[in-house]
């Protein structure tokens, strides 16, 4: 039986939660295509992580180790993924479409001389083939693509699949790989925002634009975020002007997010902003301009002054939550 190899992303010795979404997608895909699933962890000292794959229904786990993998290196890690894919005869290789996932799988595709569908939001299996849907032109169009080579490779946009726990017992196998010396090597990881969750991983986002008037007004926005348990985001001019940190910038040139709920406060909804958030499941817009394009993207909209509407909405939601 051929296998679907899922490459897990590890940061600071912990598996990133986005990987659980890909495990869930792979387990479903395996059922549809008659393949097995193998979770791959690359690096040294990862023994404790195997169980995190088992929790999401993946029993076969490979821990790939080697002296070249002591520090993170994109070329060495890609070589490791390619080597394991060959040893395990992978029919499909999947990873989440984070900056690291995109880089590693593109390199792996080059090594294995196959094709890669990047940043996919869904897939379907039909007639023994896999078709992937990926947003192009910053989400203005959707492309359905197919990889006409083996293995089939794809990365999935974070939040495209809801992780489903289905615990199984894990069989972990350790592979010691003899790889070329790494070329580019991670020297240091600099966490921003005090290690706060990244907007791409957030299930809810409260986001502010120029209509918020200034950084001193972010308190009312953070209050709603707190009540919802949401992360905060912003439009590009807001981060360009230094009102908010760059990692909160959402849109074509910033982060692409697909949360369950996106609340846009004083954001006009320019096409480049929509590019980064229009795949959110529910969009709420607060804007004083009835004609603002954000209302075309919104599921629920309130025309009004954000400085009145936002605190009122926070109070109402708090009330409902206390019921």
């Amino acid at each position: 039986m051929a296998t679907i190899l899922v490459v897990s992303e590890v940061q600071d010795g912990k598996m990133k939660s986005v990987s659980t979404e890909v495990f869930t997608a792979a387990v479903k895909m395996a059922g549809e295509t008659g393949n097995s699933v193998t979770a791959l962890f690359v690096g040294n000292g990862l023994d404790g992580l195997a169980d995190s794959a088992g929790k999401f229904g993946v029993a076969d786990v490979v821990l790939a180790e080697g002296t070249s993998l002591a520090k993170f290196s994109p070329d060495a890690y890609a070589a490791a993924i390619a080597e394991v894919a060959k040893q395990k005869d992978a029919a499909v290789i999947l990873m989440s479409a984070t900056y690291t996932g995109k880089d590693l799988l593109a390199r792996t595709a080059q090594i294995l001389d196959t094709g890669l569908a990047q940043d996919c939001i869904s897939y379907r299996a039909e007639g023994g083939k896999l078709y992937f849907t990926r947003p192009v032109y910053a989400g203005k169009l959707l492309a359905e693509v197919r990889v006409d080579a083996a293995p089939v490779m794809a990365t999935f946009r974070p939040k495209s699949f809801k992780p489903a726990e289905s615990p199984v017992a894990v069989k972990a196998e350790k592979l010691s790989l003899d790889l070329p010396a790494p070329k580019a090597v991670l020297e240091e990881m600099q966490l921003s925002g005090g290690g706060k969750m990244d907007v791409t991983e957030a299930d809810m986002i409260v986001s502010g634009g120029r209509g918020m008037k200034g950084p001193e007004n972010w308190g009312i926005l953070e209050e709603l975020a707190e009540v919802l348990g949401a992360a905060t985001g912003c439009s590009r001019p807001v981060s360009d002007d230094g009102w908010r940190p760059h990692e909160e910038h959402i849109g074509q040139t910033g982060r692409t997010v697909s949360p369950t709920l996106y609340v846009a406060c004083g954001i006009s909804g320019a096409i480049q902003h929509l590019a980064g958030m229009s795949s959110s499941k529910f969009i709420v817009a607060i804007n004083k301009d009835e004609e603002a394009p954000i209302f075309k993207a919104a599921d629920y909209g309130i025309v009004g002054d954000v400085f009145e509407v936002l605190p009122a909405l926070t109070a109402e939601i708090r009330k409902l939550k206390q019921d």
């Binding site: 359905e144 693509v145 990889v147 600099q190």
Partner: protein, 249 residues
């Protein structure tokens, strides 16, 4: 320093795109073409490095004769010369483009090769990784800060939740992100000079694609939203809908 910058011609991000009759490509008429925005950061960084260390910047772009207008834009920024890899279309599959780029780049003896983070049309986000692997060179993608010191480099790379500081030796491949620098404007003088700079045209052999586009469609139309016009007075109703209809709270 001998630097190559790969640029792609892409539609202006502000325009609407329409699917052509073949269902797999876009209607080209009336499109305003620009240098892929991420590639402008790549060109700027290359120019700043040659201004500091001396050397030349060569623009490399694959596509039909029509892309020469965009290549001249990069020359107008100050790049010294250009190569157009001649192909009747820009391939859908980045691995096809990567192979053709590598055929040219491997002969250039470049200290640094810059590309953009991703092209804003197909959004593949693959090329820097593909090209570097094929050339066997170190590569850092999504770079927001670059320091070159002799034969060594350090790049700050954006990741979710922070930045990675990555060390490598030259020659190397860099994928440029926003915030790397502020691209310069084309001066009138630059535009005049660009007209006289040479664009060498080299032939390409395009391999069979491995990533195949089956169809392009507009995203499903969103059902019309519920828009309320009474300001704060509507907050209670929207909160209720979020709980009872959207079921998100």
């Amino acid at each position: 320093m001998n630097i190559a910058v790969c640029i792609k011609q892409t539609p202006d991000t502000a325009i609407r795109v329409k699917v052509a009759d073949d269902g797999k490509s876009i209607v080209q008429d009336g499109i305003q073409w620009v240098i892929n925005p991420y590639d402008e950061f790549a060109v700027e960084e290359a120019l700043q490095l040659t201004e500091k260390h001396g050397g030349e910047v060569t623009i490399v772009s694959l596509g039909p004769a029509g892309i020469e207008k965009t290549i001249r834009e990069a020359l107008a920024m100050g790049a010294h010369k250009a190569i157009r890899i001649d192909a009747d279309h820009i391939p859908d599959d980045p691995s096809v483009t990567a192979k053709a780029l590598v055929e040219v780049l491997k002969n250039g003896n470049y200290d640094l090769i810059f590309l953009g983070r991703q092209a804003v049309d197909d959004d593949h986000h693959q090329m820097a990784s593909l090209v570097s692997q094929a050339l066997g060179l170190p590569c850092v993608t999504v770079v927001v800060k670059l320091e070159i010191d002799g034969g060594k480099g350090t790049a700050l790379r954006e990741v979710e939740g922070g930045y990675e500081k990555v060390a490598f030796a030259l020659p190397a491949v860099i994928g440029a992100n926003r915030h790397l620098n502020t691209p310069r404007y084309r001066s009138l003088k630059g535009i005049m000079q660009a007209k006289k700079k040479t664009i060498e045209v080299l032939p390409a052999t395009l391999a069979a694609p491995k990533l195949v586009v089956e169809k392009l469609t507009p995203p499903p139309a969103k059902k019309e939203g519920k828009i309320f016009k009474n300001g704060a007075a509507d907050a209670a109703e929207v909160a209720r809908l979020l709980r009872d209809e959207a079921k998100v709270i």
